[in-house]
Amino acid sequence: MITPEQIRDDFPILAREVRNGKPLIYLDSAATAQKPTAVIEAVDAFYRTTNGAVQRGAHLLAEESTAAFEDARATVARFVGAQSGEIVWTENATYALNTVATGIAHASAGIGGEAAARYRIGPGDEIVVTATEHHANLVPWQQLAAITGATLTWIPIDGEGRVDLDNLDTVITDRAKVVAFTHVSNVTGLVTPVEPIVARAKHVGAITVLDACQSVPHMPVDLHALGVDFAAFSGHKMLGPTGIGALYGRAEMLETLPPAVFGGGSVATVTMEQTTWLDAPQRFESGTQPVAQAVGMAAAVEYLEAIGMENVAQHERELGAIMRAGAAELEGVRLLGPVDGGDRDLIGIAAVAVEGVHTHDVGQVLDDRGIAVRVGHHCNHPLHKHFGLTGSTRASTHVYNTEDDARAFVEALAAVRPFFGVS
C-alpha cells in the first residue's frame, strides 16, 4: 500500500505552483520523473564532501569517489537482479542501446578478434525488433542493418498495440542474430511478455536486448530471471538524475563485446599500432565518468526499494486504469491501446487522441490547469502511424501521483472539445 500524500512531501518540486498559480499535477514521468529530496541531497553531498576522479589517482577523494561509484553500481545491479560487473554506466538508455548496436558493428568489422566472433553479423542475417519500439530501440538496429548488410525485420502488433506472440517461430527465423524489444511500450503502457520471445531467440541462438526504460522505474524487474542478454534503462525516469543510465549485460556476453567508444579509461595497453581493452564494465566506460549522477541513481534505487517495487507497480496500475477507463468513456476521445490489457499487464500510462483537436492544443488546455503531460509522437512514429495518427497526448504516472491527479487528467480531457467548440 502506498500513501502518495505522504510520498509527495519527499518531492520538493510538487509543492510549486505553475500556470496561473495552479498546483502542479505532474503526469509526464514517462518522459522524465521528478526527484525526491534523498536523490537531490545525495548528489549535493557528493559534490560537497567527496568529489574526485574515479578509477585513477591515489589520493583520498579519488579513493572515496571510486568507492561511491562502485557502491552505486552494486546498488543498481541488486535492484535489477544482476551482478555488479554486469552493469555498465552510460549517459542514458539511448546510449546503452547504442553501446550494444555499435559494439556489434565493431565486432562485425573485426574488432575484438575471434573472442567477439559471436557478435559478427552480415548479409543474410536478421535483426528483429517489434513494431512498437521507441526510436531509441529501432534506429540503432536499423542503422546496424545498414552498416552490416543484415536485414531488419519486426514482430507485428495487433490493433491495440499488443506485441503478437502467436507467430514468433516464423518472425524470429534461424537467421536471426539479434532480437531487440521493449519491455513496456512508452505509448500504450502495455507490458511485453518477455519469456516467449527470449525462449524463441535462444532457440535460434540470437542475442536478446531488452529496452527496460519504462519497466525498471515502475515494476520489479529481475534481469537474470528474464534471461535477456542485454538490457537498457536510464536514471532520470526512475527518480534519479539525468545524464546517467545503465547497460546490463550478462557476464559472459559483456566479456566479449567490443567497446562502442574508444578512449582512455577503457584500455589495458596502448601502443602506436594497437590497443587491448580492459575487462567489462570498464571497457565500456571511456572518458571521465558521471560519478555524482551514479550516486544519485543509487539513492533513487534505495528510495524505491524502501517503498517496494510491488507497491509501486500496484499503485501505478490503479492510476493507469483510472486514466484509461475515464478517457475511453469520453465522447470524441480515443485511447491508444487497450483500457484493460487482459493477459497483458499495463503501467500508469494513458495516451489519447482527441477528435478534431491537435495534440498540441490538447496539451495547452491541460497545461492551463496545471497538468503537465507529453504531446506529440513520444519518439515513436511507427506506432502512431499504426494507429493512423501523427501524435497523441500522453499522461504517465509515478509513485507520487494520486487518484485525484488521474481524475484531473480525465476531467481536463473532457473540457478540451467544448473549449475548441468541437462537437
Binding site: H358, D361, F419
Partner: protein, 151 residues
C-alpha cells in the same frame, strides 16, 4: 480573459477552421518558390508556394496539417501578404517575430499593427515559448519560399 483564452482568440479559431489561401494553386508567375516546413516536436506541417512577379507577391497558397496555432498563423499571414511585395513581407516578418517575443504584450506601433492585421491576435502565444515555433512555421516557410523564388 485568461491566458488560454487570449491565446485562442476567436479570430485564431476562425482561421484554424477556415484557412485563407489553403490548397496549393498552380502559380503562373515568372518565379515560383515552394517550401515544406515541419515542426519536428509535434509533426506540424506546412507546404507553401509563392509566385513572384518582380518584387510583387502575386500568388500565395499553402497546404498543411497541425495544431490550430500553426494552421491559423499561416492563414492569417496569407491573408495579409497576398498581393503585396517583398519589402512588405520583410517588415511584417520582423514585426511578427517581435510580437512573438513580446511575452504577451501587443506591439506599441500603430503602423505595424495595421500591417499585421489578424496576425496581431497571436499576441498571446508570446506567453508560451513552446508554441512560438508553431506560430512561426508558416512565416518561416514563406521566407524560405521567397528565397527560393529569388534564387
Amino acid at each position: 480573459m485568461s491566458d488560454l483564452e487570449q491565446m485562442y482568440q476567436q479570430v485564431i479559431m476562425d482561421h484554424a477552421k477556415q484557412g485563407r489561401g489553403k490548397g496549393l494553386v498552380d502559380a503562373q508567375s515568372r518565379r515560383i518558390g515552394e517550401s515544406h516546413q515541419v515542426n519536428t516536436t509535434c509533426g506540424d506541417e506546412v507546404t507553401l508556394r509563392v509566385g513572384l512577379n518582380g518584387e510583387h507577391i502575386d500568388s500565395l497558397s499553402w497546404d498543411g496539417a497541425g495544431c490550430s496555432i500553426s494552421q491559423a498563423s499561416v492563414s492569417a499571414m496569407t491573408e495579409i501578404l497576398a498581393d503585396t511585395d517583398i519589402d512588405t513581407f520583410e517588415e511584417a516578418f520582423d514585426a511578427f517575430r517581435e510580437l512573438m517575443h513580446s511575452r504577451g504584450e501587443p506591439l506599441d506601433d500603430e503602423h505595424l499593427e495595421d500591417l499585421l492585421g489578424d496576425a496581431n491576435a497571436f499576441v498571446g502565444v508570446g506567453k508560451y515559448p513552446a508554441r512560438i515555433k508553431c506560430a512561426m512555421l508558416g512565416w518561416s516557410a514563406l521566407r524560405d519560399a521567397l528565397a527560393k523564388a529569388q534564387s
